[in-house]
Symmetry: D2
Subunit: 355 residues, 4 copies
């Protein structure tokens, strides 16, 4: 059965989505998952994004922004320096960074997808330390390989899947969410797609469509937060933004920065414990990205970026809410986590005139 | 007559303000204005913030964050490098950066407030190019001197005053706003104060207390924006955060980053044309800030920062809304700008259950 | 009489210079000076660089690097964010940043060279606080205008000219220096030009062609440094790099970073008191830099950057040494400074087999 | 037999080393190696640095600088954000980042050395792709564990050991090098220790004590470079700086930046292909670093940093040269590499008056 998404509940968002309302609306992008739910303790997995699909390992121009560096995104140094994303993106739990890093290189070596003598893959994480036993190291090489080889375009799953399997968001069950925006032709016609692995926020902060629903949805919080509006936030948010707009690396860095505002629209105040690292890449300018020779490329002027910035903010907000809407109740390592109660949310939005 | 503030209209905000709900709630901080409204073209001014009052020029630990560098904040290089704010802060219009920079040095020289053989003052700006003729260079040395010498603690003015005199915000009359938060003792008891010079945002984006009021308040926009949700945003936002919490420079940089989320709560998607530069400083650890000798200082652990982050986000949001609520209709150089219509805003908030 | 340059003394450098061995070897770049030497206290000035000459105000792609932010480079925020240098570059003394900033905007307004409603000029500084009385504010609007309007291509002056008039370098008389490299065609044939305003370093550190000459040239140091190898360094270094290679902003930032190594070749260990701020721009890709529409541009792959990096390092080294070789004895505000003794340097280089 | 070090050859350096002229001169720091030389293809290993020894996992204040981000340093995001190094440092080859990352977490879990629910270890790399078959993934968990548990203080090995086993430097055999400086009491008496894993530079660039020895030592270069002074540089440089000076994170970042100048003294121009990532940490202020409560800490004023900056530059230079002097001929995966020829170097230094 197809999972319900935020728009299915009538939650309003700004802007018009692409066909699948997913990061895969950006032509060429594919997404693969490996979901591990075993025994009482294993609630984790791996998400892989191929910027140009698994068969085309041409690099992609990219930029990163760290809103809060309490986390890990390997490979970010070269994106920042060289403006290049050279290979697939992996997202997993904090303690499986190593095995996924290793596995991506091994896959590149075995499939002759190395660009140079060396590879520094991009692997990001959030911590599923409560539903999953991160110290069990459940992610193995074959899981990463499965995510790498099973990636596909079109509609993709959300909620308790891939790297997001065991995550918490605003003290509800979080996970994986996606969304996209297709700009009108007169604004460039570009597509912006977002994939978020959500594991951040305190219950009282949760805001949906501007309504502070978290202040009313107090029951079933898995972690005792009391009424204190200033408690320590744990967890993290990883967001990957894809576009087909012909942006240069410094412009993609600016796009990645705007993720912050999309995240903010869901209510967080940016806790110390949350590693919020964002990446944006473009599939455009493939010849220039390939390197080797002086190539022609298209350059979008800075003063045409606002629609792309807006699309990024709005798609990020929707991807986060989608991760909450799609996620389902889960019992795991140390706790049980409840899914966002759809009916109560609808009721609150109705009460506040937003439905 | 005392101006109305956002809370007077019943607009809800998170957290508890300090005594004056102003940046001056941080002990020692003083604020001075020079407001220039002359003829048909001069609608501008200067705002000065003395971190420790005009008579104490001990440096202050500080950090900066540039959300969008389409603007100017002189002196930021040393704050970033040395972690120090060495002197008063000036805020003015874009084309008066030079004269205010010059004037602050002159004031430091004349009053023997130079710390070294040289001074690199911190001067920030937003562009009042529509209500004010920036090319008229109306700000003169005596205006800057007035702001420097008239600074005071306690309640301070908002709206069409100081550097914010001729600014626009969300296509309403913007200007200067302030707010503060006083944390409960069990969360440290620290005070966080914010001063914002607001000159950013498109009408359709304006969000107050989570309600997208800008989508309804379409009349009287001074700049034609049509219905297009992705138009170019012009203008800028400068925010200064003061605190008495004993933070190190890298932690103050983190505080400055959180201003982004407060700005986001008012609806912007971070336009290319908006120079959004933020500074945070602390009045704490005065001995260590004075330098010269190895000093003892207090260090707040990172995991006690969340209340300060939250206070920064919420006080920023309120300072921006305060700037809109306090501003009054103005006719100037090229346009007329309307103030935020208090009654219509209240009606909209009532309709959406937020009043 | 034509001043002697470092190569005239036989000092060896790596790489081949362009026609004038100056930043003006990059086609279109012009340089103007205003030199102020009056009475006993005024020893200062203004240097202006027009990236495309005074008549063409098309922006230029650019990048900045701050090795040590104890200084000022206004306008750097937009270079970092937008990748664009929009107007002429000014370099002066620390306390004349304001007047030069003001003057550049005024010149842009009067000559209709504004790109937008606002301008945030790039003005950098070093402190001539010992030979010049910076608190005398000797630089006036007409000085800046003179530098702006008298800029020229071809051979340019070095030593006690322009913004560098009153500077000290390694406790000798410093000032303004320039150099360039022309790459062989098989390495791209690009030109890299450097202009340095030198005001940094302790005598004992000075290294020329790898020879620690500063350890022998101890006489006539204007500031008592004793024998202590670890004394506080004051002063600063501003370096502007121009090229015609088709680099993107993030690549120009990488070029600016390499200035650090060129600086290092002259012996400094990077003192706290030295504001070392570097900018690199390219005159290439003029259509894309102009903005407004989606433009075609050329992209140089990262793996073809090494010759440009090397040229930057070597031209920076030579520009710094050129500033020392060209500078002449000066008596001013508080001290007298000796020029680098050419004969003694030659003798030392001969002794160490480098001449 | 004790290996020869650079000073044993008479090569002159600035400043006075500590007892062992090693990073271990900073009290508490221990270093462990795992060296893998097997068959024809395995020439690699792991280096571990415990900031406070293996038994004390109190975090350390730290800062990072990326001179050229063509490499990997996991864990750097939190050092940059939180100013904290939380656990041991691992250094290995590029394709073993994953396994070392995994192993450090496992070691932390097994020995109850986790500070939080999660760990983001700091692991850096250089590429031994020519002497070692990086795609053979020879580094295994037990190798990392050995380096973690065998770490010791006092004199440590250099050359073909640990992570540096299969590295090349200036086209000679490179590897691991270390050095330290002990400041005079009147300059603070602090110790600065450096450990470098060297894998960078082109033969013609190599400079020792200011003498361009690489221009004469052309024989036996393992990689054909021809005479071309601007060829692509491959390889990387990782440098770890330890000190006991009471520096704040933003000051340690400044220390890390100065490594650039030490690297530059050996002749490189900073090639695109070289990942040059530097970390500096302090063992001081242990109470504040431990966190949890508001702690007292010592603050060193910025204007007392110059001796520490100088010590960093000079110790970095010496550590790099030490790595070259200690390394021995090696035949491996694809090439044979020659060690730096001690006698020829001495002869060249003698010729240029530096011995």
């Amino acid at each position: 059965m197809k999972k319900v998404r935020a728009r299915d509940l009538g939650i309003p968002f700004e802007g018009s989505p692409g066909k699948f309302n997913a990061i895969t609306d950006v032509h060429g992008v594919t997404v693969g998952y490996s979901t591990i739910i075993e025994g009482t303790d294993a609630r984790t997995g791996v998400t892989v994004i191929h910027p140009r699909g698994a068969d085309d390992f041409t690099p992609a121009f990219a930029g990163v922004h760290t809103f809060n560096g309490n986390g890990e995104m390997t490979g970010a140094a070269w994106v920042e320096e060289g403006g290049m994303l050279e290979g697939p993106i992996g997202i997993t739990n904090t303690h499986s960074i190593g095995i996924v890093h290793h596995s991506i290189i091994k896959w590149q070596v075995e499939h002759h997808k190395m660009l140079q003598h060396w590879s520094c893959p991009l692997v990001a994480e959030t911590a599923d330390a409560w539903l999953n036993n991160m110290n069990g190291f459940f992610v193995q090489e074959h899981h990463a390989m499965h995510a790498l080889t099973s990636a596909k375009s079109g509609a993709i799953e959300e909620g308790n899947v891939g790297g997001g399997t065991g995550m918490l968001c605003y003290e509800f069950k979080g996970g994986t969410g996606t969304a996209s925006r297709k700009l009108p032709e007169k604004l460039g016609g570009w597509t912006v797609g977002v994939l978020a692995q959500t594991n951040f926020g305190r219950r009282y902060q949760l805001t949906i469509a501007g309504v502070p629903v978290g202040q009313y949805l107090k029951s079933d919080a898995p972690v005792t937060s009391g009424e204190n509006p200033f408690r320590q936030e744990a967890g993290s948010l990883v967001v990957i933004v894809a576009t087909d707009a012909p942006l240069m690396p410094h412009q993609l860095k600016r796009v990645a920065k705007r993720v912050t505002l999309g995240m903010g629209r869901t209510g967080t105040t940016g806790g110390n414990g949350s590693g919020d690292l964002f990446l944006a890449f473009t599939t455009a300018n493939v010849e220039a990205a390939r390197g080797g020779v002086i190539a022609q490329m298209q350059a979008l002027p800075n003063d045409q970026l606002d629609p792309i910035f807006g699309a990024t903010v709005y798609a990020t907000e929707e991807a986060i809410i989608n991760s909450l809407v799609a996620a389902e109740d889960m019992t795991g390592h140390e706790i049980s986590a409840k899914a966002l109660p759809h009916e109560e949310v609808k009721e609150l939005l109705r009460k506040y005139g937003r439905l």
